[in-house]
């Protein structure tokens, strides 16, 4: 065995120095890996150096909120210009560190709740954005050129060895810790409880350097709960068109849904409308999806074989525990989620993504960017993109590929499948904002924020179908840019983009099945009522779960 030394192990030497500084500062107050909450800032000051790349676990759902606050307490004269690499900016503290100069550079994926403030800080020059990523893309860079020097993560419990139990919301933690621990970095975890034995080991203790019992349980958001009471009849109609015109048409068995009410309506129509079409067993059996409460009626009716999840959902714990044949669970019975692996699953092993968006242009490019906000992407682009590296065939994938390639020659003549990427939108959003535009706001945002490229969520050449209340546009069958534009105008309703359609060409596209109206697929609009929903309110969902689903207080409206 040869030992690396000198100029080949500087990262390990740096790590030893940082650990030495921590031991010196904390002295007898350090018990093994356990650090007291009141010493958190001292610990961070000891292990951090100016310019360090730091991953603060800001997830889609759970937040390392205590460590985020501790980070804001540092003296910027001592620790400054940190390069933050984190998937989600959810808490005010995530941006406070930039205002005070503790951090200056940012690589991230999603900033929903902080998007307006982020835009201000960027235009004020206080944040330099490296890039906006999809989740999987950012996690990948943790292992290439954005490896964290120090990571501040979040778990439910730890034992004396630092073994971490994350509970159902494992989310980003494995990807972050793996990248940090195996590149001589330092991993600090905040936990909600210290225990003798963890319920299961989600992160092995020898990958973890310090554990802090946080004064309060970590913050976690129920992002995927949609109250069925808010689903409109238009959404029911669109869900019927999706099920009959796309799911049944392609035999979609493996899929991911977005988080909006449109897709919640589809989930709630499976045991009713889809069942009446005889589709049970033919569609929607395998999912890459968080445990959406709206999926409970379909699960209970025997539609769902398997669900793998990015994270969990508050209130679904007992239901998941009681349905281990459906969900991925640990020996302790609770959900094991994993954002990186579920993103990969959604990308490579799903035949369809369907989700909503804010703007679609005449080429089918789809964006959620709006002026004055830098919101980022999250995971939609990983789900909503054809997997170019995919090689296994399924009927849905083959049919989509065949439609896209029919009649083509040369390089496109090779048989190959394609992922179904469906954008489901009402032609007007609230306040009569048109969902169809000549030019995406993303162009102007890119200019304002000095981005290299406009932030497009799903590129037009990945979008296979656009579904609105007016109909379905099948872009796989379009052969020219002009056909594509008219197919999009032909479902854009009474928006300026829709009104400017070439009526003759749109009717021609309809004759060829490129545009389909509800009546073209024998949907009677009188059936589009809320009574088709398998659950019409939160109470119905609880009832469907046999009392196992326990919604957060804010959703308990009965």
């Amino acid at each position: 065995m040869s030992q690396a030394n000198g100029r080949w192990n500087q990262q390990a030497q740096g790590r030893a120095q940082r650990l030495g500084r921590a031991a010196a500062v904390l002295g007898a107050r350090l018990h093994g890996k356990r650090v007291l909450a009141e010493d958190a800032t001292k610990l961070l000051e000891a292990v951090l150096e100016p310019g360090d790349r730091v991953c603060l676990e800001g997830n889609n759902q759970k937040q390392a909120d205590f460590l985020a606050r501790a980070l804001t307490q540092l003296n910027p004269a001592q620790v400054h210009d940190l390069h933050m690499v984190q998937s989600v900016l959810a808490l005010p503290e995530h941006l406070d560190v930039f205002e005070s100069g503790i951090a200056s550079k940012l690589d991230f994926s999603f900033s929903g709740p902080q998007s307006a403030r982020l835009a201000k800080l960027v235009s004020g020059g206080q944040i330099q954005i490296g890039a906006i990523h999809t989740y999987l893309e950012l996690f990948s860079r943790y292992f290439v050129d954005l490896t964290p020097r120090v990571s501040l993560v979040c778990a439910q419990a730890s034992d004396a060895h630092g073994n971490l139990f994350t509970g159902p919301n494992t989310e980003d933690t494995p990807a972050i810790v793996e990248a940090t621990a195996f590149k001589s970095g330092i991993v600090i975890a905040q936990v909600n409880e210290l225990v003798d034995t963890v319920a299961r080991v989600d992160i092995p203790g020898d990958w973890v350097d310090f554990v802090i019992l946080a004064p309060k349980p970590n913050v976690i958001e129920p992002l995927f709960t949609r109250d069925p009471a808010q689903i409109s009849e238009i959404q029911v109609l669109m869900a019927m068109m999706a099920i009959k015109g796309i799911y049944a048409e392609y035999g979609v068995q493996r899929l991911n849904h977005g988080i909006g009410f449109d897709t919640a309506a589809i989930e709630l129509l499976l045991p009713t409308y889809a069942e009446s079409l005889g589709l049970k067993g033919k569609i929607c059996s395998h999912w890459a999806l968080n445990p959406h409460p709206a999926l409970i009626p379909a699960i209970e009716a025997g539609w769902v074989e398997s669900v793998h999840s990015f994270g969990s959902e508050l209130g679904m714990e007992n239901y998941i525990r009681a349905r281990p044949d459906v969900f991925f669970t640990g020996a302790d019975g609770s959900l094991r989620s994993n954002r990186a692996l579920c993103q990969a699953a959604g990308h490579y092993a799903c035949d369809m993504f369907i989700g909503s968006t804010l703007q679609i242009d005449l080429n089918g490019h789809s964006s959620t960017a709006t002026l004055g906000r830098i919101a980022g992407f999250g995971g939609a682009p990983n789900m909503g993109a054809d997997a170019r590296g995919r090689r296994h065939a399924t009927p849905a994938w083959l049919k989509a590929g065949a439609q896209a390639r029919q009649g083509r020659t040369g390089v496109s003549a090779m048989p190959r499948g394609q992922k179904l990427v469906v954008q489901i939108v009402e032609t007007f959003r609230e306040h009569m904002q048109p969902a169809f535009v000549e030019k995406l706001d993303a162009w102007q945002l890119a200019e304002q924020a000095h981005m290299d490229i406009p932030p497009v969520m799903i590129y037009g050449d990945d979008v296979t179908h656009i579904l609105t209340e007016e109909g379905i546009a099948n872009l796989l069958l379009c052969r020219t840019d002009e056909e594509r534009e008219q197919a999009i105008r032909g479902v854009a309703g009474y928006t300026p983009v829709g009104l400017a359609r070439d009526r003759h060409m749109v009717e021609n596209l309809r004759d060829r099945g490129i545009i389909q109206r509800a009546e073209d697929i024998a949907i009677d609009k009188r059936d589009a009522t809320r009574s088709l929903l398998a659950a019409r309110n939160m109470r119905d969902l609880v009832r469907a779960s046999g009392g196992l689903y326990d919604p957060p207080k804010r959703f308990r409206n009965w």
Partner: protein, 93 residues
């Protein structure tokens, strides 16, 4: 027999279809939303092109519904009509 669909509620509307003497289709719209004249015109024009109603008076009581909801209600109302009310002689008015 008049046909009534929809509800009077924010973001929704009521549509009533009644027989009236004559071969035309009249459409009467009550709405508080201002500035959407061309969209209303396009919505009812398309509606009439789809259904070609004759001898029918359409009354719309709008509470700020989107064009999507308006079209859905109109189609639901037309679908509830007895078959004889539809004729190719109807013209938009």
């Amino acid at each position: 027999m008049p046909v009534l669909v929809g509800v009077v509620g924010s973001g929704n509307l009521e549509v009533m279809l009644e027989p009236h003497g004559g071969s035309t289709c009249t459409i009467d719209i009550t709405t508080s939303a201002r500035g959407f004249g061309p969209i209303w015109e396009a919505v009812v024009h398309d509606f009439q092109a789809r259904h070609r109603l004759a001898g029918i008076a359409v009354s719309i009581n709008d509470m700020g519904a989107t064009p999507a909801v308006v079209s859905l209600r109109l189609d639901q109302a037309a679908a509830a009509l007895p078959l004889g009310s539809k004729s190719i002689s109807g013209a938009p008015t």
